[in-house]
């Protein structure tokens, strides 16, 4: 059972999903922890509510769809090596496909672009065909993938930073399309409602599984609305993670990696560059589309301006902070990036209570915080006053940017790299090389 560590006698072993017993155990433990977190105090009533349950379930659920999109970004940037700053555009494509197919609207005529100008309807109308999720969710992915394939010729011709700028252009063009096509996008600022995550067979009144109300699931366990959405999105994330892992270790995945490492060399070796770059774009966009559709549906509402550059930058940060090219890193990165603001805010609140505490804690708190006259701390608790010192909301942006810089300089492999370093240190001990 416990043979020599890391000795792999077959290729299958090397490409296995979870090569080591430790990884299997760690995954099981992690999943258990996540499930417990979702159940929170509805099962474990003795747990303090701040640790689990309502305080954290919304932020955590919020990052699940983003994690799906991040997995796609990892396929494009981490595995295929194509630099993109346009992931939010593809998320938007998926989300609008979802709302056009699944949202409520004014019939098929309203789905014709420029129907107002063409005079198809008596009044302005919105596109929404009210289909159930089993139609709009896959369609969101497929539509985004098709758009990905459509723009992929640019990806083959244009390289490196030029590609980054082209994809950045896509984001701006996407924002403008949101302005041009209110029949899909709704109001430019407030947007429109998205279909809920209810699982329906067709357009019936009472869904098979109702996501937006508390109730019993499978007649067994009572779950709140938040918990239902959490578990549903978590299950989808698990499915898409396994799918991504399988893609990466398949023939396609190896071809994509070959293109990343040296595109010309890969081509010489018989990997058709164009075809696989296109596949990379399509796969990545597919994930983005699914993630975008789920995210908008979870939020219940989105506006065209939500699919902006900052969202695209989020994914870059996720990949860099988590670790480029690895699935574990991508997931770690999503959790890290998306929860930073909440953690910082919670920490600041906690710190604010410690100003009267004994030194050194109280001393540190006073040094960092500004409560009123005479304080010189950089974080203002009177969060609303403009100017220096800045509030915790503004510091969150600074922290976010600084983290990107720090990770790039000191740990280019991200959180995953830190883990690998720790692991390798123990593995090869006491040998230095």
């Amino acid at each position: 059972m416990f043979g020599r560590p890391l000795l792999r006698t077959s290729y299958e072993q090397d490409a296995a999903m979870l090569p080591t017993a430790f990884q299997k155990g760690a995954l099981a433990a992690f999943m258990l922890a996540v499930v417990l977190m979702g159940l929170g105090n509805s099962v474990f009533t003795w747990l303090p509510s701040s640790l689990l349950g309502p305080t954290w379930i919304n932020p955590v659920t919020n990052l699940l769809p983003l994690a799906i999109a991040a997995l796609g970004f990892n396929i494009l940037v981490g595995v295929t090596g194509q630099v993109s700053i346009g992931h939010s555009f593809f998320m938007g494509v998926g989300a609008y496909t979802a709302v056009a197919l699944g949202g409520t609207g004014d019939g098929v005529k309203a789905c014709v672009p420029f129907h107002d100008e063409l005079g198809l309807l008596d009044q302005t109308g919105q596109c929404g065909l009210d289909f159930p999720m089993w139609i709009w969710l896959p369609a969101a992915g497929i539509m985004a993938a098709l758009v990905g394939i459509f723009v992929s010729p640019a990806a083959v011709k244009v390289r490196g930073l030029y590609l980054a700028i082209v994809t950045l252009g896509l984001v701006f063009i996407g924002l403008h399309l949101g302005r041009m096509l209110p029949e899909y996008a709704g109001d430019f600022e407030s947007g429109r409602r998205w279909p809920s995550l209810d699982i329906k067979i067709w357009r019936e009144e009472t869904p098979l599984v109702q996501m937006t109300e508390d109730g019993k699931w499978f007649g067994l366990i009572h779950l709140s609305e938040e918990q239902k959405q959490f578990f549903f999105l978590l299950a989808l994330l698990v499915v898409f993670t396994i799918l991504a892992k399988n893609i990466i270790r398949s023939r396609t995945g190896r071809a994509l990696a070959a293109i990343r490492d040296r595109d010309i060399a890969a081509e010489v070796m018989g990997v058709p560059e164009f075809k696989y770059k296109r596949i990379g774009f399509a796969l990545s966009s597919f994930y983005a589309g699914i993630g975008g559709a789920l995210w908008a549906s979870y939020l219940g509402r989105a506006s065209p301006v939500d699919w902006n550059l900052f969202l695209a930058v989020d994914f870059i940060a996720i990949l860099l902070i988590g670790g480029v090219g690895t699935i574990v890193g991508t997931l770690l990165g999503t959790v890290f990036v998306e929860l930073i603001p909440d953690v910082v805010e919670t920490f600041t609140e906690w710190l604010a209570e410690q100003t009267e505490a004994a030194p050194p804690l109280g001393w540190i708190a006073n040094l960092l915080l500004t409560e009123g006259e005479g304080d010189f701390g950089p974080i203002s608790l009177a969060s609303t006053a403009p100017g220096w010192p800045m509030s915790v909301f503004q510091w969150n942006f600074v922290i976010y940017g600084v983290l990107i810089v720090i990770f790039l300089i000191f740990e280019p492999l991200g959180l995953y790299g830190i883990w690998i370093k720790i692991r390798n240190y123990w593995k090869r001990w006491p040998f230095s090389y």
Binding site: V166, L168, I173, R179, G387, S391, L408
Partner: protein, 332 residues
């Protein structure tokens, strides 16, 4: 008078006004694009932080000549021109000081974040600037108090009249400043330091082996690039550039992003490309904005802002390294 006849009657003046506006906007684009190009040429970094750096420069000047103070210091600016009737010479002195501070700012960023990254992939270097952009932005928008600020430009919103067309003095100033900056960049390229920078750009290791201080080249590239970017943003803060002669929190932070199509069109490493790219993109944007205005509702309001990206996409599909960029030699 209907809009159509009014348009016809004003055709000549409208054209002149549009042309001048295109040249003025082109000048802004050229200034910021040159900032990008110098930094890219010297350090192979696509500087996504240009937006924050340029806005920081503009805000610095606004505080010095608009508020009459000194940023982050409790003293008044002794050289502040008066608010009601600003003195041109004093104003220019402040401008020069701010450009030096912007250059210093560039040096600091280079030293802290770029120098440790030498030899890393281009994308990593570009993304690090993205991180810097995100980190500086709150200081621009919030720490210096958040209201929009005026640059207290001596000529204000004055204009000359030329054949019935209004030619704002700021537009002419933009063209003059861009011309001077362009000449400075060309002279710089021919100087010893310029040669060193081009050598570093071509082959960093070989340049190091010759004893060229690559660090100094990096620093100069960032200093010059940051000053040019700040100059671009300052020019854009003069009336009647949008939004009417202010350093705006809505427009200035993304000004540099609007220049990306310019440098893609011109090539990331070509100074002359930046000039041509700036003029082409600005003309496309301004003329489309003026002459397609009756289709505003169909094209979507603000359509002219995506004209640069559309032009860029089309050009890139035909010429993947821009009109003037150096094609990368691809080796196995």
């Amino acid at each position: 008078m209907s809009i159509a006849t009014a348009l016809l009657a004003n055709a000549g003046t409208t054209f002149i006004q549009t042309l001048v506006k295109a040249l003025a906007l082109g000048s802004v684009y050229i200034l910021i694009a040159l900032g990008f190009v110098i930094i890219f040429k010297g350090t192979q970094v696509l500087n996504f932080a240009a937006g924050a750096i340029s806005m920081a420069g503009a805000i610095f000047l606004a505080i010095m000549v608009g508020d009459g103070g000194l940023p982050f210091l409790p003293f008044d600016n002794p050289l502040a021109p008066s608010l009601d009737d600003p003195d041109l010479v004093l104003w220019l002195i402040n401008l020069v000081i701010v450009l030096f501070i912007a250059a210093l700012f560039g040096l600091v960023i280079e030293r802290i974040a770029i120098r440790p990254m030498v030899g890393q992939p281009l994308f990593a270097m570009a993304v690090i600037t993205l991180g810097i952009e995100v980190a500086i932005r709150p200081f621009n928008l919030d720490a210096t108090a958040i209201q929009a600020r005026t640059l207290n430009v001596p000529w204000g919103a004055d204009a000359w009249e030329l054949w019935g067309a209004q030619i704002p003095k700021s537009y002419v100033a933009a063209m003059i400043i861009a011309t001077i900056a362009g000449a400075v960049v060309i002279l710089f390229y021919r100087s010893r330091l310029g040669v060193a920078m081009r050598a570093v750009a071509f082959d960093q290791e070989a340049a190091m082996a010759q004893g060229i201080n690559v660090g100094r080249v990096f620093a100069i590239a960032w200093g010059l690039g940051a000053a040019l970017a700040a100059l671009g943003a300052i020019v854009y803060g003069m009336a009647p550039f949008p939004p009417g002669g202010q350093v705006s929190q809505e427009i200035h932070p993304i000004l540099a992003l609007r220049v990306l199509p310019v440098i893609v069109l011109g090539g990331l490493d070509s100074a002359s490309g930046a000039v041509y790219g700036g003029l082409i993109i600005a003309s496309a944007e301004v003329f489309a904005g003026e002459y397609l205005s009756q289709w505003n509702s169909t094209l979507g309001s603000g359509y002219s802002t995506i004209v640069p990206y559309v032009v860029m996409l089309i050009v890139l599909l035909v010429k993947p390294y821009g009109l003037f960029g150096t094609a990368e030699v691809r080796r196995v």
